[in-house]
């Protein structure tokens, strides 16, 4: 059983009650040795999907297979699935070492072997010197490392990580993210599923990206591909942080008009599109500050926030709001007049029903 490589298969899995749909018709084939990143807003069903796989939620419909085994008929405690939560969940009354030994002992490994394996795992996550402490005597990042050590030490066929970095500060998040990539690659036999709300994490860690919204998987594929080719406006909003700005526009006579005030020549990647009304999307990092051409427009700052080493600038135009991501920390006051320009070769074009029409590519 251990070390064997089997697929995790979901067939039309649904979870719903009278009041709401939590998961709807999830069908997916997860392959061992890969990291699958679930991305979606809070409440999109990421956690529910993981809890359903783990057995903590019973599906109302559909089947889950692990290899040939019908997983949804196996009780939780026999499924052999590891899970890491957002909150730092460890057994408070046990030492760090005992925490990591616990799952090994439960799976029938001898005391001596369990200790050896647990110590090796603690070495990997860099907690050897803290092995005799209680979890409450550790920092948040260290507590989460204990939880991850506990999840990885058993070498389970499925590992679920539910926004494990969510409650950590920015610096620690970046550091742990690096470590994760190395840690997960060494457990190459497992199906690893990682939930997050952060596009950067998904690009960094994922072999495969699953975009979730309202209990459904709305797009999946290689992270870079999904990022460059979001199939709908919804996907574009979810895989971009800050979300993509969307403005109404049209193509007419070889020019792109955005609500009549901005207009420019149709860029190369949109040349083949017929005339008509469209929705135009642009990434925050690809909107330009300044300029005085026909692709520019003046607006007023409605919000400026500093996030890490970047500044996000929300600019209200006559025709809608545009978000800009600026390198460095800048000081703007609300209501300040600024000019922004759109980079024609970087715009996304969506049909009026919000499906993708053309993307700028890489």
């Amino acid at each position: 059983m251990k070390g064997s490589t089997v697929n995790l298969n979901l067939h039309n899995v649904s979870v719903e009650d009278e009041r709401e749909v939590i998961l709807k018709d999830i069908t997916f084939d997860f392959k061992p040795g890969k990291i699958y990143v679930l991305i979606g807003r809070t409440g999109s069903g990421k956690t529910s999907l993981m809890r359903t796989i783990a057995g903590l939620i019973e599906p109302t419909d559909g089947e889950i297979y692990l290899g040939e085994e019908r997983l949804d008929e196996v009780p939780i405690w026999q499924r052999g699935i590891a899970m890491v939560y957002q909150q730092f969940i460890n057994y408070p009354q046990r030492t760090v070492l005992n925490n990591v030994e616990f799952p090994l002992l439960r799976s029938g490994i001898s005391k001596a072997d369990a200790k050896v394996q647990a110590l090796a795992m603690l070495e990997k996550v860099g907690l050897t010197e803290f092995k005799d402490r209680k979890p409450s005597q550790l920092s948040g990042g260290q507590q989460q490392r204990v939880a991850i050590a506990r999840a990885l030490v058993r070498n389970t066929r499925v590992i679920l990580l539910d926004e494990p970095l969510m409650n950590l500060d920015y610096k620690l998040r970046e550091q742990l993210r690096e470590e994760f990539r190395i840690l997960f690659k060494t457990t190459s036999n497992s199906v690893t599923i990682y939930a997050t709300t952060e596009p950067s994490e998904s690009l960094f860690l994922g072999d495969e990206l699953l975009v979730m919204r309202q209990g459904r998987i709305i797009q999946h594929g290689k992270p870079n591909y999904v990022f460059e080719n979001p199939s709908t406006i919804d996907v574009a909003q979810i895989v971009n942080d800050p979300p993509m700005s969307i403005l109404d526009g049209e193509i007419k006579g070889g020019r792109v008009n955005i609500d009549g005030s901005i207009n420019f020549e149709v860029p190369n990647h949109l040349k083949s599109q017929p005339d008509g009304k469209y929705k135009i999307g642009m990434r925050a990092s690809e909107v330009i500050l300044g300029g005085n051409m026909s692709n520019s427009e003046e607006g007023s700052v409605s919000l400026a926030e500093v996030s890490g080493s970047e500044t996000l600038l929300y600019v209200k135009l006559r025709i809608g709001e545009v978000v800009l991501q600026l390198e460095g920390i800048h000081d703007y006051h609300i209501g300040q007049r600024v000019v922004i320009s759109i980079a024609p070769e970087r715009i996304f074009l969506f049909n009026m029903d919000s499906t993708l029409c053309a993307a700028p590519g890489n």
């Binding site: 019973e58 008929e73 009780p75 939780i76």
Partner: protein, 290 residues
């Protein structure tokens, strides 16, 4: 799935044990309330609703209920206020509070029926401590047991002494588990202690308070031990509560059927009152935003 088995494994043993102990007495009580079981004839004959009809015309029963309403309201309120005050002081603010926490808990540990005997010796008119103490200040002896108001006072004192520590303990434990952040911000805002109490402490304590008050009301309603040993419901029946009245009719005069009828009526009324009261309290005490 197997988890169904475990789900039942947790609840059912306790629930079934409780039902097993209680089901016979309950069914028996319902049946016997429709019989004529008394001192001259025992057994389950059929009397229909005779006992129920009698109860509805029994002024003593209803007046004992009103007395209880009045009495449990007063004692519970006193216990809540005093318990809350004591809990606030023992919570923080003075050096030797650990000593006082122990001292103020002690009455809870004592046996009500035994303490009632002690209280009786204190309120003896001739040789008791209360009148002896009052005499030091030149106050004439009070007839504690033969006048209605003093008799009520003695029971109230005994009940407040016995059960205020219950409120004190529950409320103190609640206070100790309150989040500290909100108090910090109130300190920074420079709010007066009085304002901090009403706008932060009291609303945060509302859920615990409701639980404590409900449980205390349930227990207060059964008040028996102190009345039995202290006043024997006297003078006359001035301190008679339903529990005592039931005991007199049911066990002393052995009107088993009639006692059972009143017991059931009492149970129905108590559950109704507590349900309604719980809802009212929950609504009134909803935190109004800080």
């Amino acid at each position: 799935m197997t988890s169904k088995f475990y789900k039942r494994l947790f609840l059912l043993p306790g629930l079934l044990l409780l039902i097993a102990i209680i089901i016979f007495p309950l069914l028996f009580t319902i049946r016997v309330s429709m019989a004529n079981w008394n001192v001259s004839q025992s057994g389950l004959d059929w009397a229909g609703g005779a006992n129920w009809a009698r109860m509805f015309h029994d002024a003593n029963f209803w007046s004992s209920l009103f007395r209880l309403l009045y009495f449990s309201f007063i004692t519970t309120t006193l216990q809540y206020i005093l318990g809350f005050a004591a809990a606030m002081y023992a919570w923080k603010g003075f050096a030797s509070r650990r000593f006082f926490r122990v001292l103020w808990l002690v009455p809870l540990m004592t046996t009500p029926s035994v303490m009632a005997i002690v209280w009786r010796s204190i309120f003896r008119e001739d040789i008791g401590a209360a009148n002896g103490f009052l005499r030091l200040f030149g106050v004439d002896p009070i007839a504690w047991s033969t006048q209605i108001f003093p008799a009520g006072v003695t029971i109230t004192i005994a009940e407040v002494w016995q059960w205020t520590p219950f409120m004190f303990l529950i409320l103190l434990a609640g206070l100790l588990s309150l989040p500290k952040e909100q108090f910090l911000s109130a300190d920074i805002d420079g709010a007066t202690p009085w304002r901090t109490f009403w706008s932060i402490t009291f609303p945060l304590m509302a859920p615990i308070s409701i639980g404590a008050i409900i449980i205390r009301l349930i227990e207060a309603s059964k008040i028996f031990d102190s009345i039995f040993n202290l006043t024997s419901a006297g003078p006359g029946n001035a301190t008679e509560t339903p529990a005592y009245y039931l005991y007199t009719r049911g066990l002393r005069e052995f009107q088993i059927s009639y006692g059972a009828t009143m017991g059931l009526m009492y149970l129905i009324l108590a559950i109704l009152t507590l349900t309604i009261l719980g809802q009212i309290l929950a609504r009134v005490s909803k935190p109004r935003g800080l």
